[in-house]
Symmetry: D2
Subunit: 352 residues, 4 copies
């Protein structure tokens, strides 16, 4: 079924495959009159782009976005915004050996069982490449949220495999390829990644995203809660295996007298709620945490079966991210922006 649309009132419909002619999306429901240029979107795409450091896939994709509709004389018109990104560096032959086998931990297996067919080139639709249209759409949401409500959405990597990354400063984040909020730890991260590549292996990571200045009142009480929609968007990102809001799993050992954030005329005294109570924003920072699994495409040989069910072994040789978590920060920011903008418009429709 059609499952490629995110959002209800502000929607993104995504299309494309890793090695097809193009990828893109249709962003529907953006209010009219917002200034929007290719540069606004390109800036976010460039943060996610492959091939920018030795620690990510070496595929060279400029990820140049074209705005096909919905913008007239430099501003949105209220009609759908079509966004197109051509694929330029697709090396399909790298995948010839994968046509008949399944990589352990890869969507190869489930796609084949769902559809009976699959596009094996670069993971087809399951490729992390398909997060580019999400980032492009998220750039629009980020801009609208900032312009209308002063909302600021930022993220960072808090752990790379075994290395925990203490938060020092937002200023450090843009200056290293890991989105680490800590300049001093970068050499250690680089050394770890270099060793990992030599091993032909991959590793997991943890990423944090924060939205500041979202007003109280966004979200719905039941089912379509703000935190539920955030969890949906984040768990819908490739490789994510866990999502938490505020205290997350730490709340299991907390008592109510510790977890419940006390309120004073000056504001809340803590933020274990992560900015959401009863599915509705409180005006505090919305804090989200993601666990991103290690890439399944690794050089190390692994046991698997072929399409006929016979035992075989698999080694993946194409160009891959040894840690997809490295490029996940801008994507997680985009997803949070998309969910918040959708709920901002929904709230305005019903209670505005």
């Amino acid at each position: 079924m059609s499952g490629n649309t995110l959002g209800k009132l502000f929607t993104v419909t995504n299309f494309g495959e890793s090695h097809g002619p193009a990828i893109g999306c249709v962003v529907d429901g953006c209010p009219p009159g917002m200034p929007l240029s290719v540069e606004d979107i390109q800036a976010e795409l460039d943060r996610r782009r492959p091939g920018t450091s030795r620690h990510v896939t070496q595929r060279q994709e400029p990820d140049q976005v074209e705005i096909l509709s919905g913008v007239f004389e430099g501003a949105t018109t209220g009609t759908p915004i079509g966004l197109l990104i051509r694929n330029t560096d697709a090396r399909s032959k790298d995948y010839a050996n994968l046509v008949d086998t399944f990589r352990p931990g890869h969507a190869d297996y489930s796609y084949f069982h769902k559809y009976g067919v699959r596009d094996p080139r670069g993971g087809g639709r399951s490729s992390a490449r398909l997060t580019a249209p999400t980032v492009a759409a998220g750039a629009i949401a980020k801009k609208w949220l900032a312009a209308t409500h002063g909302v600021r959405i930022r993220g960072y990597m808090s752990q790379l495999g075994p290395i925990s990354i203490p938060f020092e400063s937002w200023d450090a984040v843009p200056d290293n390829p890991f989105f680490a909020p800590n300049a001093g730890i970068v050499p250690q991260l680089e050394a770890y990644m270099d060793e990992l590549r030599r091993d032909g292996d991959s590793v997991g990571a943890r990423v944090e995203v924060v939205a500041q200045n979202a007003p109280a009142g966004w979200g719905e009480p039941l089912y379509d809660r703000l935190d539920a929609d955030i969890a949906h968007a984040m768990m819908g990102l490739n490789a994510v295996k866990a999502v938490s809001i505020g205290a997350g799993f730490d709340c299991v050992t907390q008592r109510g007298s510790e977890h419940g954030d006390e309120i004073t005329p000056q504001g809340f005294l803590s933020n274990h709620a992560g900015g959401v109570l009863g599915g509705i924003s409180t005006g505090q920072d919305i804090t989200v945490s993601l666990a991103i699994k290690p890439t399944s495409s690794i050089r190390i040989e692994r046991r698997s079966v072929d399409r006929a069910g016979n035992p075989t072994s698999v080694q993946t040789l194409g160009r891959h991210d040894p840690c997809v978590g490295i490029r996940a920060t801008p994507i997680a920011e985009a997803l949070l922006a998309l969910v918040l903008m959708d709920h901002a418009l929904r709230h305005r429709g019903q209670c505005g």
Copy 2:
């Protein structure tokens, strides 16, 4: 906006407040011809019911369900199934002191800021009582999944505050009020809860849910992934602050050569994926983990503000669960059943 509907092809639309005349839901999209009786639904409702042990709220609600439509001569007809549960033990006067203040950690605050008004009696719509219709709908999904695919959905509590509960056996689960899979640990859990009640405090918990025998192929690649919809449903449950699938946050420190589940002709050799790859089920057990925060309604006095923003203090005296996690297991099972049935029908529509 209308956010009270869960699912796309198989949907549940929930209504009601804790202290209104009734709660219920409309279940739409159930295939025709499935035998369905009040008893099928009541059995699940009774597992969630309040007042059944001293460790949960003492509110006495029989939670007697009435089937209003969609069933003819003992079987579903394919038309919407209306389910109604009358509220019988509502003591609204307990809440008089809460009309003008906000409990720390409670949806009081966010509801007021969203709607400008709120129903303060028993938490109104934010009450855990509203999980009863979800459980009733889930009973239908459980029955259908079992009958058509042999799917079995079960859950248990794996941690109560500081006490980790080692899994021993499914058999122990129905025999204690905690849904603990370990008979030996129950006295310790009871002692802990008794002390907690004396303190007037509350505590968090962790719950696991597992679906066995779901076939490979359920779910959609992007945005509406099976794991994304599971995360949405679970994080949409009151008090949940974190959701994980398979290895969850443990995947952060795993290498790809460890995390990726190898495949042999006899099956997978591990299940770090938790039964979902690329957003689509693999045929392995689907394993989900939830963190449930401590109840915000506690006897301990806490700092807050009133509606005018003036400082005040709040003590909650009504009848409350000191650990909402205790009754969460059947609800989490219901939610997993609802998501799986929705995706089963969607898959059949497109690929069946």
Copy 3:
């Protein structure tokens, strides 16, 4: 599939069967703070109620509505409004002879082929009785539209079988059982109906609905146009076979120089558009026309087949409306109100 929900931002989810225990709906997305009482809804239900004249079905149903949720201290809270109407006068034995045959022109046939089973009592879910919840929901929309925008929605019968009913005055409409805007023609309509009943036959009708004071700007350009959603709602009403807006089928013979409504500083000079251009309201009256087919349940014997495909003949003896068009006016008003309120909220979300 779940097809029993109308609307996107303001939704109605309908359940029930003609001879089940109850019918009702969940109205989701109504803004908070609107005064709402049972009387507001009952007044509209009473206009549609059966058994009020000799020209409609003699089934006696008080159609007493109960508000189950979403209203606190006399005003909406923003949460779902559950509405319940008990069935009280169900005479199922009347339908024994229909269990195995199909009435020509009746949904018996298509339901059986869709679901393999059907509830034959009183048409089950296909009964016109299921329009009662729609009318109840519409009463809420009417009240909100009037209170917030001064929108007034009214309808009337413009033709009963061969008898065209010239519009004379809105004042006449409430004073006759036909909703005819012309007191003088009522005796002729009554005589026609008396003869029709004697013949054991039924007849079609045409109904007009008008919304005044809807502001310009409601609706979406493509697919979810305001006129498209009106057509969807109206054609979704039992027995409707045609829907038109403004000039309707007369536009086929019009030239552009006649059809296009000229604009002056004082307003439009005509209203061939029926208040909608490009799918968006213009601020003019929104004018809709419906064709309602004759009831299929008639006493006259007709050729049909039984479930095994063998030839048989069918006569319908239960209590039926000889012209469902007679009670259609309040239902069509309700549907127009529901569509307008949904688009009012959608517009406010995106452009408000």
Copy 4:
């Protein structure tokens, strides 16, 4: 709000403006394994294409479609199908005089009041040009319906302004630019159109569409009825002011003993129902009729106002269809195909 998506399980999301860089759509939910080529789609686009006779707009657009995704080695994969059509012959200067005025009968007026801004070039998003992506998507649905169920969807013009066109033969339809099922009447139609162009005026038309071989059982009982969704799709087409199914408005004067289609072991004896009873298909031909208004863009001078509300007059000089109904037949076929395929998949999901 996002209103640019048609369908629930099989969806089309449309984007683009008449004079922007490109138009297109994302088709989501097409089952995997169906052979699909550019030629399949181009054949339908060519039937709708402008500039192919002197009776339609002289804008030259090759309407060359590019498949961006969802097809691998000549067959659908089950993932979204992105379709792109570049605009090549946009002459924006023709519209300079329309920036500040509103054409009577044109969406200019309502767009401006909705969005506060509009793209005046060629009608922007309200242009009939935006039906091209609908036709492209419809080609996919037509192919799938034919391959899986033998469904055949065809249409024709039954009236051009004052000239009624008696149906003679399907064979005549492809051989004239009017889609008239009657070769003999074509000279009369051509003479009428030549005179109309000389007058600088436009005219309405009526189009019929028929689906053969759709099985019984597609559609939902309430709200999302098959006929309701057909009405929604058709009324969502530019310039349509009325939609009817089967007997349409003629049912008003019919008696039940005439309208209800009798059934024999050999089949139905008539088709006043138009293939739909109770919102569900019966297996008979599904017959739909549309009224298409005259184009609002005419050379004849008409009274209007400017954006400031001052009186002015408008003459439209660009290239326009003097009768948009002439090119409506393939579009109406596409819309019927899209609705039927959506309901086919929904039915398979719930009852398959």
